[in-house]
């Protein structure tokens, strides 16, 4: 059955060579009045931007809303969309944002600064229970507003200056905040939303290139082009049909039969022996995604305290061999803690500590004095068995330690144990960029006490380095400091980088100018359709 992707948001990088892969006739304008159907899933929350953090809902919400910035599909760089300019003041503490004039919501009302501020306040207000609230946690006053029974309805850090200008004040300087702004949570909401949120949920009104037409739960969501759209990413076709399938296999069958136009994932029936390449000749693509897999140590457990032991295990794993034999090269070895193509990514940050070297690994193990059994745990329903067995074999053969896979039935169970810091074995942690920045990979996973720091890693020098990076005047300098912080993880090895993922996509013969955008989705602004 369709395995629901438990992902925050799939941010997918493109390797430049594949950007225009499958591009048919570059000049073909196609039929501007036709319809495209794309594969989707049932959104897990109502279609309100501030409450949408998982992949299926985001896909729909993103085409209905345009925020202050957008991520360029080819380069991943954040660029202005509704923002006229973003001035950085007071050493990255205050952001003065001016928005473009003349943009309208689908109901005809104008998008003003107030619509952004009201929307963000609504998202952050605890009793509203919005899933995307934590994206606003760096804004001044978040803790007071987001408390469970808060009465402070407005974030202290947000001020409307005029109809087209507002300021955002951070609790502490935060240089890369503009990187966040392209994320769906930061979309504006029309005045009608605040009057009647229930009516809005039934018929969402956005300001993006597509407007809502209808929705049949568990079947499809229909959108149509918004002709007064002011942005640069206007689509070249009219209707968009997001189809919900009971299983990925059924969707793939429809894709091959020509009943579905685009699918941003290929199920294992198509991946086996690269069958999708013959099923969909010249109509498929493959991109590097910044979806990474790591092995985390429960550093709160005495047995795993020694960094030498952690390095020994890292050096005993033959990553290239496993990605080739087990994953048929659908995974690529990762030698750092940041996904590829992300702003701030550099190759081989792990250095010598991730280099396959059984002899050195054995020496490190002896130095650590570790004796006993290694266990690796994760959810048993995710198909992780084969690679964990392979990792275990490497540990057995190269270190002479006994090693076993200990599965936990479901993802939510293992997540609860990881959060409660009750793990006694090594465990898998996958991570997908929420927004394309190195900061997202480091702070969320390794800062002392961070929400997803399941390994319990705590290094004051690392935390200080992150703070230093936050206060840099611009992104380039901030990234440099973040990279220095990443190097510190390599010294302590609370987690072992394993590999990152490749994602495959396929499309029907009707589509031309297909390119796979950020988040592994079809770039709706370039695609054209015949018939």
């Amino acid at each position: 059955m369709g395995k629901i992707r438990k992902v925050a948001v799939v941010a997918a990088a493109l390797s430049a060579a594949l950007v225009m892969a499958g591009c048919g006739s570059g000049t073909d304008a196609g039929n501007a009045e036709s319809k495209i159907s794309i594969w989707g899933g049932e959104p897990q929350n109502p279609l309100v931007p501030g409450n949408t953090t998982e992949a299926y809902g985001s896909k729909v919400v993103r085409s209905m809303f345009t925020g202050l910035t957008q991520y360029d599909p080819a380069t991943y760089k954040s660029k202005d969309a509704m923002a006229e300019k973003i001035d950085i003041k007071e050493g990255s503490k205050v952001f003065d944002i001016t928005i473009k004039k003349g943009w309208k919501f689908h109901d005809g009302t104008e998008v003003k600064a107030k619509n952004f501020v009201d929307a963000w306040n609504y998202t952050a207000f605890g009793p509203n229970g919005q899933g995307g609230a934590s994206f606003l946690q760096a804004v001044d006053g978040y803790d007071a507003t987001n408390a469970k029974d808060s009465t402070v309805k407005e974030l202290k850090g947000l001020k409307v200056v005029s109809d087209y200008e507002f300021t955002v004040t951070m609790a502490k300087p935060f240089a890369i905040f503009p990187q966040f702004l392209g994320y769906v949570t930061f979309s504006p909401l029309p005045d009608s939303f605040f009057k009647d949120p229930k009516a809005f949920e039934a018929k969402p009104i956005g300001n993006g290139p597509f407007k809502f037409v209808s929705r049949v739960p568990n079947a499809n969501i229909e959108l149509t082009r918004y002709d007064e759209y002011q942005g640069a990413d206007k689509p070249h076709f009219k209707d968009l049909d997001v189809k919900v399938y009971s299983s990925q296999e059924a969707a793939y069958t429809d894709l091959v039969a020509g009943n579905l136009d685009y699918m941003d994932t290929i199920p294992s029936t198509g991946l086996n022996g690269d069958k999708y390449k013959t099923d969909l000749p010249d109509r498929n693509g493959e991109i590097n995604s910044p979806i990474i897999q790591t092995l985390q140590f429960p550093t709160y457990d005495e047995r795993y305290k020694s960094p030498d032991l952690r390095k020994a295990i890292s050096k005993a794993i033959n990553r290239p061999q496993i990605t080739e034999k087990i994953f048929n090269n659908a995974r690529v070895p990762l030698y750092g803690w940041v996904g590829p193509s992300i702003s701030g990514y550099t190759d081989n940050q792990c250095g010598d500590n991730c280099k396959y070297d059984p002899a050195a690994a054995k020496q490190l193990l002896e130095k650590s004095g570790f004796k006993g059994k290694i266990e690796i745990s994760t959810n048993g329903d995710g198909g992780h068995g084969p690679w964990i067995e392979a990792v275990c074999n490497d540990i057995k053969n190269n270190l002479g330690l006994d090693c076993a896979f200990v599965p936990v039935p479901t993802f939510s169970e293992v997540l609860a144990k990881e959060k409660a810091k009750q793990m006694t074995a090594l465990f898998r942690q996958g991570w997908i960029a929420d927004y394309p920045s190195i900061e997202n990979f480091l702070r969320q996973l390794y800062e002392t006490g961070a929400g997803n720091n399941y390994s319990g890693y705590s290094n004051p020098a690392f935390d200080a380095k992150l703070k230093e990076a936050d206060q840099k005047p611009n992104e380039t300098e901030a990234n440099k400091a973040y990279q220095e912080a990443e190097k510190m993880i390599a010294n302590d090895m609370p987690s072992i980088p394993l590999w990152f993922q490749k994602t495959q996509s396929g499309w029907s013969p009707r589509l031309s100018n297909v390119r796979t955008a950020l988040w592994a989705e079809l770039d709706l602004s370039t695609v054209t359709v015949t018939g």
Binding site: V9, A250, V256
Partner: protein
């Protein structure tokens, strides 16, 4: 007869409470917090989890939760899903599709099964009899997903005569192939059951009497033999219809049918007790009514069976 029906209907009440509570309890017992995994790897903010838990009464003790749910249910309110959609509406959309699929499947297995069973039972031995025996054995040994994929690939892709997947409106034409996949196993059982039953009754005293009386062969077979032989088959078909009404997760998955099986599978996956209990309650009632109907049909077919 009427008293019997009333008694049977009254039995539904304790069964209804028992099953709803049991299912509610089982879903509640599933490990893990349904809202913890709803925001992906990043996890959900505590305020979101708290709001959702309060909305679905999850911080109450299990019994209070159950009675709050039941209170709404008896007023005809099935509640809302975690996405804020009405469970009642979702069921109203999915159920007609499941019923259509179940009825078509039942027709296929009854018509083909009984016809083949009668023919082989009456003629016995010979080439056709062996052919039917072997082909039913073949069908029994095939899991439904194999039959489903084979039908989809051969008739959908290669020959192009059926829809590869079923559109959301589920027109009857597109449901025939999935119904066939769904019915194939039971069809084989029905054939064998009918065949054995007819072979046995063929030598019964009352058939010999009827023949000795000088009745025409058509009447002997059609009225006397068939009417008696079909009782075990009817029991089987009745329970099978009850099972088919419960949805078919595998077949619905292969052909992308938006039926009740798909709905309940998704709900279990997300620990959405409201939907699971709602659907299962409906299924239990349908199943019990089906069984009652079959029991009443016995009396019609066999004069010796009387209900007080």
């Amino acid at each position: 007869m009427v008293r019997y029906i009333i008694r049977r209907l009254l039995q539904l009440i304790p069964v209804f409470f028992g099953t709803t509570f049991l299912i509610y309890y089982l879903v509640w017992r599933l490990p893990g917090d349904p809202f913890a995994a709803m925001c992906g790897d990043r996890g959900c903010p505590p305020a979101y989890v708290a709001t959702m838990r309060a909305k679905f009464n999850m911080d109450d003790p299990i019994l209070i939760q159950y009675f709050k749910y039941l209170g709404k249910l008896v007023q005809g309110d099935f509640g809302t899903t975690y996405q804020g959609l009405s469970v009642g509406k979702q069921m109203a959309m999915a159920y007609p599709t499941t019923v259509k699929l179940a009825v078509i499947a039942l027709l296929i297995e009854a018509l083909i099964g009984i016809a083949a069973g009668m023919y082989t039972g009456l003629k016995g031995g010979g080439f056709l009899d062996n052919l039917v025996l072997i082909s039913t054995l073949f069908l029994i040994s095939l899991p439904v997903f194999v039959t489903g994929f084979v039908l989809q690939i051969v008739f959908g892709f290669q020959l192009g005569i059926i829809d590869v997947t079923v559109p959301p409106s589920a027109p009857i034409g597109s449901l025939i192939a999935p119904a066939f996949a769904l019915a194939s196993l039971s069809m084989a059982y029905v054939t064998r059951l009918t065949r054995a039953s007819i072979l046995e009754n063929k030598r019964a005293d009352y058939v010999r009497t009827a023949v000795a009386k000088g009745l025409k062969p058509n009447r002997v077979v059609g009225v006397h033999l068939l009417r008696n032989s079909v009782i075990p088959v009817l029991t089987f078909l009745g329970t099978d219809l009850g099972a088919l009404m419960g949805g078919a997760i595998v077949t619905e998955g292969i052909f992308n049918i938006k039926g009740i099986g798909n709905l309940v599978y998704r709900a279990i996956f997300f620990k959405e007790s409201v939907t699971v209990v709602g659907v299962v309650t409906l299924l239990v009632v349908v199943y019990l009514l089906m069984n009652l109907l079959v029991d009443l049909l016995y009396a019609v077919l066999d004069p010796r069976i009387r209900y007080e």
